[in-house]
Symmetry: C2
Subunit: 490 residues, 2 copies
């Protein structure tokens, strides 16, 4: 668990295909897109996250002696291929949308252009990392939105799906807008604030609650948050907390960032009662924090009921995205390079399920903003050989209902290409911002959305359009595949 | 991502409490239980998993210079405590129920007896590991049960919640009964079978499907499973696969473990049609495998509809336990040692939510089997200072409806203590079996349950009883706490 090479963290079929490519078409360059089809949790968008870990993974890719020996032991691989693996290094290009960016279904979040055998190998790990962090960042953005300005703390490590889910989940939760995490290792690794006070066991280890509170307050007079529900919240916990706050005040200890934490029971009722008791004792600035199987819907409901809570610790439901625990990102071949011409030949994947049909070609994404509002108007998925400029009129049309058109005049909009280059011929050419910088950028990104797009339930659906050229390419490929299938069966 | 010390993978409050204990009661020995309250996914039981990783974590616990420097930088810790951390080593005892065992709510899965500051530190990581692996092992047991003897392959790495969720999730899935995993790193780490063939990208990288199939069959003539849904399953994929199988046959290549894979569309309809086409072409032993957002309910439904599928690749829903993505295990203080007498003083935690009240004391679990059937009759949670023997009559009673009693005569039952000692004064005294051995043991464990207890929906609920002494201890503590709370408020 403590030391590992993630190169073999891939599906077996990536390696069997890789050997096949090695033997059949080692020089074939391919383009693969990472994209997802549906926003998680019914949200109106997703938050891009995980790129820094993808970069680390690509940089660190190597087959050591142990890995090669293990692969040999499966009996599936020939010595020429194993020899090739010994000197393997990723040599391709990668483009990606920066972390913290608001993204939408079918947009290429990551694009890999590389010899097909290299591009195939990295599929599983890239998807694993991007799927996980995008999921948690997006879920967190929902929870933060529900809290209407209150701080959300990430408390989920113990319920996360394994160590990485806790560590990188905390990272993603910070990107999505948390003010801190209980996870000390995440604090150390990502330089983000760590938070927390004490558990029920602290209280139970003392002869009584009052002694436990007094001892805690003596040790940690600053930011002293007392957990009040071990025995009886309103009859024991809150009165004892008030007694300790009074003693601190009388002793001249400055009360800063102090208060109570509720961890069970009806949080609306208990918080209002506790607020009243604290206020009557003169502790009107005492924080009431809450934790107890919270999610965005419960927080929203508690806010609506006027719960007197101003700090929230969210665990299980955020760190696992419990209502929607998989992001569903996929990695699809979209083009092959014709080595004679240097051109990318678009490829398409059909499916019995029509929403699984891919967008072909070497693509990019542009975001269009209104000049007057600064808000996002639409995204445009286009081929990389197209050129766009805000000094030209722009025609947008819906890729399904193509009669739905929008004409934008020059001066009324700005345009920004979302992906950046991350690897160039195997060399990393991108430096990841710090997590707190990504978090700030994500808040700016959220500001470019209208409130209607951020609604938790049934949000306004963003316009994600295809360029005219991409739309035409897709349709001609669909027809060509259909013809091919018919001919084979004549 | 590649090298890490998990010692700081803990909630901040564990460390602040730890410092508090260090200063106030460094010699206090405590007993903590790991248990859960509800079986996941509506199942009738859970499968214990993750112990080997807990052991690795405990063995590896140490605060290096970097960790101490980081903790110092938070401003929360004093130098005397940081000095203590530099030489920290776990010195306690740990008992646990072996991996692969069928377990039930409220049973102590892991019990830590250690100086309270040590026992507190390890809470978060132990819960993280046990919660994750028990969840996935239990979900997998459900999926395997639904497949009625067909093999289940774990295909979820790309949708797992981060690398560990994929790696240790695959481990737990093997324990729960999978026949293999696509995850090569899990294959290497845990010596379990790895499986897989090719993806849509393989097909799309060739000029046509037939060429792709032929090339694949040439490279991998053994266990050649062709993915048939890239363009059109019944009009293109299956006919092309049959053509390649005929060519292999004509070339004298032995067809072993060969067949097709369906990855989209209506699996019941497509599999029956494909079965007919394969049979008519003489390939009656061709495998039809399926993968496409499967879970135990869909597999159960497809089996009931007579789908002609005999091999299943299960990804997202199993590796995330999508309908129930957190196990909910907790870690509670249950006793403190009176250093004068050496006795363990039971402790209890009340709660506004009555199902959160803990079972106090230093406990163990016995499983009672019927001599005639070999099946489990009940579990008995008891204090460690009680003695049980199958040569004595045994009285069991329901801890809620105490009038529900069962008398077992000597000779009609056998009794087995479930937990084993894992650490003794900080030394590991347990050797984990291999994953495949744990898998075999788990299958034997499942055989001790009646079919009614393994039903996917509304299963028979197992009898989990408290010993008379534990029941009396719990009630007297509840009354004592109630008295204390009342007195404080007079």
């Amino acid at each position: 668990m403590s030391t590992r090479n993630l190169t073999l963290m891939t599906d077996l079929y990536e390696l069997t295909m890789m050997q096949g490519y090695f033997k059949e078409k080692a020089n074939q360059t391919a383009v693969f897109d990472v994209f997802y089809r549906t926003n998680p949790s019914g949200n109106g968008f997703a938050i891009m996250a995980g790129l820094e870990q993808v970069i680390e993974y690509i940089k660190d890719l190597h087959f050591g002696e142990e890995e090669v020996d293990y692969l040999r032991s499966t009996g599936l691989f020939d010595e020429d291929f194993l020899d090739y693996l010994k000197n393997f290094k990723f040599s391709g290009d990668i483009y990606a949308i920066p972390e913290g960016t608001v993204v939408f279904p079918r947009e290429p979040l990551v694009k890999v252009i590389a010899p097909i055998m290299e591009a195939q190998l990295v599929e599983t790990a890239i998807l694993n990392i991007i799927n996980h962090q995008c999921l948690i960042a997006t879920k967190t953005a929902r929870v933060v939105h529900a809290a209407r300005g209150d701080g959300i703390m990430e408390f989920g490590l113990r319920r996360a799906q394994g160590p990485d889910a806790g560590i990188y989940g905390a990272r993603a939760a910070m990107i999505g807008g948390c003010i801190g995490t209980s996870n000390v290792l995440a604090g150390q690794l990502f330089d983000v604030p760590v938070k927390g006070t004490h558990a029920h066991s602290w209280i139970m280890s003392f002869p009584d609650e009052l002694t436990a509170f007094r001892t805690y307050a003596k040790l940690y007079p600053t930011a002293c948050i007392l957990l009040v529900d071990t025995y009886d919240t309103l009859r024991s916990g809150v009165p004892n907390a008030i007694r300790v706050f009074k003693e601190m005040k009388e002793a001249g200890i400055p009360l800063k960032g102090y208060g109570i934490r509720l961890d069970s029971g009806d949080l609306a009722y208990l918080s209002k009662k506790a607020r009243k008791m604290l206020d009557e004792a003169g502790f009107t600035d005492a924080i009431i924090s809450a934790s107890s199987d919270l999610d965005e819907n419960l927080i929203n409901s508690l806010k609506t009921q006027g719960a007197a809570i101003n700090s929230w610790g969210v665990g299980t439901n955020m760190i696992t995205s419990s209502d929607w625990p998989a992001f569903g990102g996929v990695y699809k071949l979209v083009a092959l390079k014709d080595e004679a011409t240097g051109q990318f030949i678009p490829k398409i994947k059909l499916s019995e399920n029509s929403e699984k049909v891919t967008n072909p070609g070497n693509k990019t994404v542009y975001r269009i903003y209104g000049t007057d509002t600064g808000k996002m108007i639409a995204d445009l998925i286009a081929l990389t050989d197209e050129e766009y400029s805000a000094s030209q009129p722009l025609l947008l049309f819906d890729p399904v209902d193509t009669w739905k058109k929008t004409h934008l005049a020059p001066g009324t909009y700005t345009i920004r290409e979302l992906p950046v280059q991350v690897f160039d011929n195997g060399q990393c050419v991108y430096e990841s911002p710090s997590v707190m910088e990504i978090r700030d950028y994500c808040q700016q990104e959220l500001d470019t959305l209208w409130d209607e797009a951020k609604r938790l339930i049934n949000p306004h659906r963003a316009h994600i359009d295809l360029s005219a050229k991409l739309y035409a390419t897709k349709n001609s490929l669909l027809e060509a595949v259909d013809n091919m299938t018919h001919q084979q069966n004549l």
